[in-house]
């Protein structure tokens, strides 16, 4: 299947510019980058996409075996890069997608110039034996998965636009009204499982791409110690703590987020 259609890939910005690829995390779709990605359009070629099951992706392409691990999602990223013939990619991933980006960069290190991880976690569940704090207990994660089920049921049984348009903010564009946060509930449940049960601590040291970890000063999903752990384990990495609250600084503090990314990608590669 053509990855461009499968992942509803949209390319904007400067066609001659270095590619910047934005990957949304668990929950919504590529619209999550609406306040940050456009900042880079004048100088960079900006690539946004939806994970299969989210947004306008091709839901028929969902294969529970392929997507039973984050590797399947990393394969999608590499296939999109191949289809667009991208090299020297700056990959910006939010939350679980920062790990997906890391897995892709481990497999094809030459394809990626830089990696930006927004609110990453190598493992959400605490591992007391290794003195690792992920922020959640096993019980927490079970409850979390159950809570997703009740919300999706409350919204809609089928793939349907959850939210109608917002006439108060027409500048957001009408396409937002069609797809924002549209998620297939069964796929979302699978994705949540894969996301919150993954343990990628051993992968971090294999990342050779220069990496920026962007961490909010207060985040209930990925606490500061989790971001610090990721930055500490990735050899060529840098941690920036944003003066922002929550798990989505690209929404709550878009200017600071964009500025931190701009500063990092403007730097010369240190290797």
């Amino acid at each position: 299947m053509n990855p461009i259609d499968r992942n509803h890939v949209r390319v904007t910005g400067n066609p001659a510019g270095q590619p910047m690829m934005f990957a949304h995390g668990f929950g919504c779709d590529q619209n999550m980058w609406r306040l940050v990605a456009p900042v880079f359009e004048s100088a960079y070629s900006v690539i946004c996409f939806d994970h299969v099951g989210a947004g306008n992706s091709d839901i028929n392409a969902y294969d529970s075996a392929r997507y039973s691990s984050l590797d399947g999602y990393a394969t999608d990223v590499l296939e999109i890069c191949a289809a667009l013939d991208l090299t020297d990619v700056i990959f910006i991933g939010h939350s679980v997608s920062s790990i997906i980006g890391a897995l892709a960069a481990i497999r094809e290190p030459t394809q990626f110039a830089k990696l930006v991880m927004v609110g990453p976690s190598a493992r959400y569940i605490d591992d007391p034996a290794a003195q690792y704090i992920g922020g959640f207990s096993v019980t927490d994660i079970d409850e979390l998965l159950a809570s997703l089920a009740s919300n999706y049921l409350g919204w809609s049984a089928a793939m349907a636009p959850v939210i109608i348009g917002n006439p108060d903010r027409p500048e957001l564009g009408h396409e937002l009204t069609e797809s924002f946060c549209r998620t297939d509930p069964d796929i979302a449940a699978d994705f949540a499982q894969v996301t919150f049960l993954s343990d990628n601590r051993d992968d971090l040291r294999k990342v050779t791409t220069p990496t920026l970890v962007l961490q909010c000063k207060s985040d209930v999903i990925a606490p500061v110690c989790v971001g610090e752990y990721v930055a500490e384990k990735i050899p060529n990495s840098k941690l920036v703590i944003l003066d922002a609250t929550g798990h989505c600084p690209h929404l709550s503090a878009p200017h600071d987020t964009a500025a931190a990314i701009a500063e990092f990608i403007g730097e010369r590669s240190s290797n």
Partner: protein
């Protein structure tokens, strides 16, 4: 309408805010609680001092609710300006949970457009959540039941076709069966290939009317009747005559079509084939350098008449000859109002020489693509190629 003199004609706004039959909560754009009404405090057990200017809304939520808050609720507010009917559990100071539904809007500064305040209305959803949980359990039970039904269907279906085809020296044979739709229901198509003696084989392919367990019973009956009858009778027409008689006395009154091809090795290492059809699409035959044709003559639908009419058609097969037998799931595959049709099968067969496996695989792929992968009927295809 005339009200009583002492009845209130208005409502005090402050009292309405504090004692409304729902919780009111206002927060800064990043979630710090700045105002809360009495109803919310009464429901949850918090005091105003514990919350205002000290607590983020997200901190009142259960773990699952926190995740939802961060991945859905806030993004929706920040991008869309509103969030509707979000199910969140609020955990009180004593650990007791209050299931709620939350509607919220994000107010922006009129001149700068910067986010100013989030206003949320909180509804007690205890009863509704219980009902929803019942629904979730019911849905899960239905999913398990469906998976069981599918497994049973698949297992039963496997008994209706041979697990693998016998290897016959001098014949290259391949068969494909594909259930309709999701495969949760047992189809009526079957095929079989079995040996009568050292150089005598019988190929049977059929289609029982209907689907499901009852169709499967008749399919099994048909398959074993053909097997038993073929031991005694070498004429496919007689085998079909016997099958017809068995179906006539069976109380289920199901109809069936079948094609029998008897294959006997000839002295020159070719094969002598005898073909008979009981209401079944005729097999398509291709010989190098010749036009692709149908072989035989269609006899009576099985189980319909007390005395059906069946014909034996004889043909000598030589090296490279290809015979393809199929069920109507192939010829009657539809794209809109258009049928796949025999002509497409014949055209498919007339292509460059291939193995039987390639012929069946490519034909089935082509049929599925034609239907847009939305199969309405099950499909069985058997290809026989003479290959010395």
């Amino acid at each position: 309408m005339v009200g009583r003199a002492d009845a209130p004609r208005d409502d005090d706004v402050n009292s309405l805010y504090d004692n409304a039959p729902c919780g009111y909560l206002s927060t800064t754009p990043d979630g710090m609680i700045i105002k809360v009404n009495q109803t919310f405090l009464t429901w949850t057990g918090f005091t105003r001092d514990e919350l205002v200017d000290r607590t983020f809304f997200v901190q009142l939520l259960s773990v699952g609710g926190r995740l939802y808050h961060e991945t859905h609720y806030l993004p929706l507010l920040q991008l869309q300006g509103r969030a509707h009917e979000i199910a969140l559990d609020i955990v009180g100071p004593d650990g007791r949970r209050l299931p709620t539904l939350v509607n919220a809007v994000l107010e922006r500064d009129e001149s700068s457009g910067e986010p100013r305040v989030i206003r949320a209305v909180i509804f007690d959803a205890t009863e509704r959540r219980r009902y929803e949980q019942d629904l979730v359990h019911a849905r899960e039970a239905a999913r398990v039941a469906e998976a069981n039904a599918r497994r049973i269907a698949e297992t039963l279906q496997k008994t209706l076709i041979p697990p693998e085809l016998a290897a016959i020296d001098g014949l290259d044979i391949s068969a494909v069966y594909r259930p309709a739709g999701t495969g949760a229901e047992i189809g009526g198509d079957f095929y079989d290939l079995f040996q009568i003696s050292a150089d005598h084989w019988v190929l049977a392919l059929g289609d029982v009317q209907g689907k499901g367990v009852e169709a499967a019973v008749i399919t099994a009956l048909a398959r074993y009747t053909i097997r038993a009858s073929a031991v005694e009778h070498h004429s496919p027409a007689v085998i079909l005559q016997n099958l017809n008689a068995v179906l006539r006395v069976d109380p289920t009154e199901r109809l069936c079509t079948a094609l029998i091809v008897s294959l006997r090795r000839a002295a020159d290492n070719g094969w002598h084939a005898t073909i008979s059809s009981g209401g079944h699409p005729l097999p398509i035959f291709n010989r190098a350098g010749h036009a692709t044709i149908e072989l035989g003559r269609t006899g009576s639908l099985l189980g319909f008449f007390d005395h059906g009419t069946f014909h034996d058609h004889h043909v000598d097969l030589v090296d490279g000859d290809i015979l393809i037998a199929y069920t109507d799931g192939v010829s009657e595959a539809r794209r809109g109002r258009e049928f796949y049709g025999e002509a497409r099968i014949a055209a498919h067969l007339g292509q460059r020489p291939r193995t039987a496996e390639a012929i069946t695989r490519e034909l089935v792929d082509d049929v599925l693509a034609f239907e847009g992968f939305n199969t309405r009927d099950d499909i069985a295809v058997v290809a026989v190629r003479v290959a010395r």
